[in-house]
Symmetry: C2
């Protein structure tokens, strides 16, 4: 859709809620592409733009949308007023380009809502104690919406996205994946950190902290309900596995035959940490000859850096060799039901074994199990697990 | 120049002043074309956009430029900080899209100037008592600059434009027009209202009221001095005529043979006023038969409206006919020297008569004389007057 049509579409969505008699506050983000255009212009002028000025610049995108959205509502005969983050009372810390929300003062918004006006708030932005504009970083508009819902004590917070909800698996890989009706914050967080990028983890964490129930739904088809994200309720444990998550951005590095002495691990992970390489899964094996092997995964973008670092470090440690593989994926099962159901790991390993999929790493937590497998088994692995745990839309439990 | 190059150019101009040891506060306007784009988007969404929201939208243009300009200065190693109108302390009345500046609180700017930082202020915008963004209307950025210079008690206020100063006549018509070194506020105001559109009259009025000396100069070639605009000093009267102004946007309407009774004039001008048609020059003749004729000029854009109105009104008044002519121009002489020099009008009329240019209307004030002539005499009229009053760059006084 064109820019103007998108804004008219947003106005129509709002109209439906207004006509139902609701008081409506809306958080909007920039027109698609605007933020990237602004960044391109900034870096053409200064390769390393000042973060304070970057925030002044980026806030422009949302400021444009609030005004246009208010105008679109007026055209439908609906009272509406726009507010910047500062006007909406979104106070943040001073950390430009990645500020954290410190407090919400919703008085002004409430005044206008009570007058019968729709309030349109610029997402992604706030203001620090000095009165300078700040931005909230990636996923900032979702965060603004959840903070606002919390501040207003709203009955419902709806997040309109380009997907119509959270699915039991990526529907592009598993065609009969089904939409999850309700998911707990904790599960949603795991899904996010495991590669299901519907929302940034920080927005979910914020909602969890302030107990804001929200719905992820489609901005294209407003007739279909989305996925409700909320506190865990006991009935959620009835479902053993909520979903199968997939992370395609992993790479694996193995350092083997390290003489087993204290501090080896520290030396490896300090080297990676000081180069800002984030390590995800870690496995250590003690071999019979008194040597040790470390295997760990990093983001694929960091693979080359990490590999080069490890070659240096391994020499210092007297390790025999460094091996790497960036053709791997991480497949995870997520579900609060795992807490009360035994045998999930077994079923998982059996299912993969039956398909001759070799597991090279395993990591578990209370509500998830992750395995690393060869990239070529990506689709087969996800589909077989999805079916085995009864997640297919026409599915029933097998193998349990 | 491209957008990015323009901003880099502005940064270079500022650098020159910083290197001279000056404290510099800069007012910038939107990138060229941005304001029109925003208006187009707004009217595509709502044919009559709300003025409050229009201000939120339009303020975006300058907010982008302040950030980019600060970044461009940083790239040159110069300390700089951006401020919106609100942050800069520009308080206005609540009249959206055409707000008037009520007060300036320059504390924040001064703090940063004293720290050695260049302060970049968004022009064209301010904030009302409710904390809502307002815009100042046409020429608003010049107004912001002059208000800021006043608030800061600046030594100098330079207005960078696409012309390099104020000329004795439009150089496209009079090739040997010369740049005016110094001009009084009053003369500048007359020039502006008579069609020389270097600056909006309101900015000059503001400068006059607060006695802000400013210079109109070129943003393309910063080596050449511009025109200084300031309070009248007695030496200014030595020059009889400061310049020849031309207004091409006039149209003339004559209502003749109106029975001469009280209230006729009121009826005519009330009809025009209620349709927002602004009348410029007015001439009334009482004919021998006890009837009266009115001739007046309006903006050419209003000609059709005014003509249609007058046809109706003239019937009500029992007038014989309405005639109109939109192929006319107004040529004016401006100069504070006219106060102390006699015979200017005579010289003007003689000069035009010698060229066989017929004058159809005349209007005078203390420091200007305007005549309406046929459009085809535009160039000849302006050039002959420019020469007659010794304004040619190699000129000397003739005919006096």
């Amino acid at each position: 859709m064109g820019d103007v049509d998108r804004i008219k579409n947003v106005a129509n969505i709002i109209r439906e809620d207004v006509e139902k008699g609701h008081q409506v506050a809306v958080v909007v983000s920039a027109r698609s592409g605007v933020t990237n255009e602004l960044i391109a212009r900034a870096t053409a002028i200064n390769e390393q733009p000042d973060e304070r000025e970057m925030d002044v610049l980026l806030a422009v995108g949302e400021q444009e949308t609030i005004a246009l959205t208010a105008m679109a509502l007026h055209a439908l005969g609906i009272e509406a007023i726009s507010m910047t983050g500062a006007q909406a009372g979104i106070k943040t810390d001073p950390a430009h380009t990645r500020a954290r929300i410190k407090s919400m003062n919703c008085e002004k918004i409430v005044t206008h809502l009570e007058k019968g006006s729709v309030v349109i708030v610029a997402g992604f932005q706030g203001v620090n104690d000095e009165g300078t504009t700040t931005t909230l970083g990636r996923g900032g508009s979702d965060l603004s919406a959840i903070a606002l819902a919390s501040g207003l004590n709203a009955d419902l917070c709806q997040i309109y996205t380009d997907v119509d909800g959270v699915y039991t698996a990526d529907p592009r890989i598993v065609p009969n994946a089904s939409k999850i009706q309700e998911i707990s914050y904790e599960e949603m967080l795991e899904m996010a950190s495991l590669g299901t990028k519907v929302m940034q983890a920080r927005s979910v964490e914020f909602a969890n902290k302030y107990n804001v129930v929200f719905e992820v739904r489609s901005s294209f088809d407003t007739s279909i309900p989305g996925t409700i994200v909320k506190q865990e309720v006991s009935s959620m444990e009835d479902v053993v596995v909520r979903g199968v998550a997939l992370d395609r951005n992993q790479a694996k590095i193995m350092v083997s035959n390290i003489p087993d002495k204290p501090g080896s691990a520290a030396q490896i992970f300090e080297a990676l940490g000081s180069s800002n390489v984030v390590v995800d899964m870690i496995v250590q094996n003690i071999a019979e000859d008194g040597c040790t092997d470390f295997t760990f995964t990093v983001h694929r973008n960091d693979y080359a850096t990490a590999y080069a670092l490890l070659e240096t470090v391994s020499k210092e440690l007297g390790a025999k060799k460094v091996k790497g593989d960036d053709a791997i994926v991480k497949i995870s099962l997520v579900g609060v039901g795992m807490r009360s159901h035994a045998g999930i790991a077994n079923t998982m390993f059996d299912t993969l074994a039956k398909e001759n999929i070799n597991i090279s790493m395993i990591s578990t937590s209370e509500i998830k199990i992750s395995v690393v497998v060869d990239e070529k088994y990506l689709e087969l692995g996800v589909r077989s697990l999805h079916e085995a745990f009864g997640l297919d839309s026409d599915g029933h439990l097998k193998n349990l």
